[in-house]
């Protein structure tokens, strides 16, 4: 299978702290890859390195076949990114935010209008089109932030904690969106610290203390743990199993 993201031996330290400590990772085209782990595990640092927003101390990163940061230009416009901060212009309306990011990504003017209408509908934000982004609720901001990342129909979507702080109904809705996007052929790399969300990914990697401890299909990981301890372990129990194993 062709890899959309390839990371080899990535290392990044901040002072004495090794935030990412020799990570190897491959995300295949058309899958939803979930980087799961507690806060401070190094997930955000890793994906910022993948997006070329952060330099690294060692290792290689290739995105959509191009080395990062040297080949960043070939990736621009084909990569959609949703940072944790939501990254919206508070003093622009919902529509104006989308228009700006569409223009930056070189979308033709006529196409942008249609696409904005389509994405507002998809994200159920149409009724808020002329509202200022700063006045939206937390969930609405998150939907707009995702809409901005999706607008130019990028091949690869990198989403940093896209569901954090959302109520369960909205989280369910987000995951439905992710699966629709996957079905349309998009590749999604996302981070989450909700362990139960791991089960909804095509593949999942558990990160802890800057290292990728284990990765695989959710069902496969559950089966490995079931074999070792019996029963039907939840994703939380799977994570705790490997976390303890890591400590040992």
């Amino acid at each position: 299978m062709e890899a959309a993201v390839e990371v080899q031996g990535a290392v990044k330290s901040f002072g004495l702290v090794r935030a990412v400590d020799g990570v190897d990772l491959r995300v295949f085209r058309g899958e939803i890859y979930g980087l799961v782990g507690p806060s401070g595990a190094g997930k955000t640092t890793l994906i910022r390195m993948i997006c070329g927003l952060l330099g690294r101390d060692a290792g290689e990163v290739r995105v959509l076949g191009h080395p990062i940061p040297e080949g960043k230009r070939h990736v621009e416009g084909r990569l959609g990114y949703m940072p944790q901060e939501r990254a919206l212009y508070r003093d622009l309306t919902v529509e104006e935010n989308l228009l700006f990011f569409g223009q930056l990504n070189g979308m033709p003017r006529g196409e942008i209008r249609d696409r904005i209408a389509e994405i507002l509908e998809f994200m159920r934000l149409s009724h808020l089109a002329v509202h200022l982004a700063g006045n939206l609720s937390g969930g609405e901001k998150q939907r707009l932030s995702l809409a901005c990342a999706l607008l130019s129909k990028p091949e690869l979507l990198v989403l940093d904690e896209p569901t954090v702080g959302l109520d369960p109904a909205l989280r369910q809705e987000f995951w439905e969106h992710f699966h629709e996007l996957k079905d349309e052929g998009h590749t999604i790399l996302l981070t989450t610290h909700y362990l139960e969300e791991a089960g909804r990914c095509s593949r999942v990697g558990f990160m802890r203390a800057g290292r990728l401890q284990v990765e695989g299909l959710p069902a496969e990981l559950q089966a490995r743990v079931a074999q070792a301890v019996g029963g039907t372990p939840s994703m939380e129990e799977v994570f705790l199993f490997f976390a303890r194993k890591g400590v040992e």
Partner: protein, 368 residues
């Protein structure tokens, strides 16, 4: 009310500050700078005005007047041979020209010989650069004082030759300064706040992932604030003309061109300064770094000659010093921008330097 809870709040605020080293540094630097600048920048006296003296009479009396002018710290006197064109001297950097014509002394003494009924008197010709009325007033006072030194009530008439055809009032020379100041304030500070906000809100990250280039980002800001600067300058000129009937001797077109050049430099400055602030409150605390030198040291409120010589070199590091000089030359003196080479070079140098620094600081921000 619980003193313990009040104390807890106080300590929490202080602890928050302690964790923000930049904020502490800015909080210490800004008031110190304000005190030093306010305290020393205006000495109250105007010193070192460049005065050219042309003595065509060459007598003991005229020598006495010239000695008296030389003894006055208001002036830096240069004696020049007869035959010079005073207007050209003013354009070449002198701020005033005194000409003591042939027969000055004989007419002066003729007055005493022929008695009070005669109209005979010595005439001193004075050419003044009135683009700064405060300097003009200091020159008038200094010349009058020098004449008093040779004998109170002496029969000397001062004939003034207005360079621009009209008398320039304070408001006329203040309008260009206000334009420069508003552009400094709006362009540099709003750019600073806006760029810091991009950092805080995380929109910067989206920008760097998109195909947007640093140059495009800076140019986008430049065009937006250039337009704002144009509207504001138009407003100042319009209000100045309608309400205060200010004198605009020069070309409004060139004034607006200069304003745009100055605005671009200030957008560059704001972008560069954004590298020094991580939060909006840090950015706001950087404001005085721009505002104070602009108000106190640029020649906007009082002429550079009123700033003590120790601080005067600093004035030449303030962009608005050149902005003022250029805008006053264009609007009050009616010159083309290239006829004020120091002002023009200063504004262009400021533009090139800050835009280059802005590009470097954005590169650093993008890699943080």
């Amino acid at each position: 009310m619980s003193a313990a809870r009040v104390w807890a709040v106080t300590m929490r605020v202080l602890r928050q500050m302690r964790h923000d080293v930049r904020l502490i540094a800015i909080m210490l630097v800004v008031p110190s700078l304000a005190m030093i600048l306010f305290g020393f920048s205006f000495s109250g006296d105007i010193r070192g005005v460049r005065l050219a003296v042309i003595d065509e009479d060459r007598t003991d009396l005229t020598a006495e007047i010239i000695d008296s002018l030389k003894g006055d710290p208001t002036f830096r006197v240069t004696e020049l041979p007869p035959g010079q064109d005073p207007e050209k001297l003013l354009l070449s950097g002198y701020q005033a020209v005194v000409r003591l014509p042939d027969k000055f002394t004989s007419l002066y003494y003729a007055h005493f010989a022929m008695g009070v009924a005669t109209e005979a008197h010595g005439t001193l010709h004075l050419w003044l650069d009135e683009s700064d009325p405060q300097i003009a007033a200091a020159v008038r006072a200094g010349v009058a004082e020098a004449l008093m030194d040779i004998g109170e009530g002496g029969p000397v008439e001062i004939e003034e030759h207005p360079l621009y055809g009209v008398e320039v009032r304070f408001i006329d020379s203040f309008a260009p300064a206000i334009m420069g100041y508003v552009v400094t304030f709006i362009c540099s500070l709003l750019t600073l706040l806006s760029v810091v906000r991009e950092k805080v809100d995380g929109t910067f990250e989206r920008l760097w992932i998109s195909p947007l280039r640093r140059g495009e980002f800076i140019l986008g800001y430049v065009i937006a604030f250039g337009m704002v600067a144009l509207v504001q300058s138009g407003l100042i000129l319009g209000l100045g003309k309608l309400v205060f009937d200010i004198v605009i001797n020069g070309s409004v077109f060139w004034a607006l061109v200069c304003i745009i050049l100055f605005a671009v430099g200030n957008v560059g400055l704001g972008t560069f300064l954004s590298a020094l602030a991580q939060t909006e409150s840090q950015a706001i605390l950087l404001f005085p770094l721009v505002v104070l030198p602009s108000v106190l040291l640029s020649g906007m409120m009082w002429p550079l000659q009123a700033i003590p010589p120790v601080l005067r070199p600093l004035a030449y590091l303030v962009p608005l010093t050149y902005g003022n000089r250029l805008l006053r030359a264009v609007m009050v003196k009616g010159l083309a921008p290239w006829q004020e080479p120091v002002g023009l070079a200063g504004v262009l140098g400021f533009l090139v330097l800050t835009v280059a620094l802005a590009s470097v600081s954005l590169r650093a921000t993008a890699r943080e």
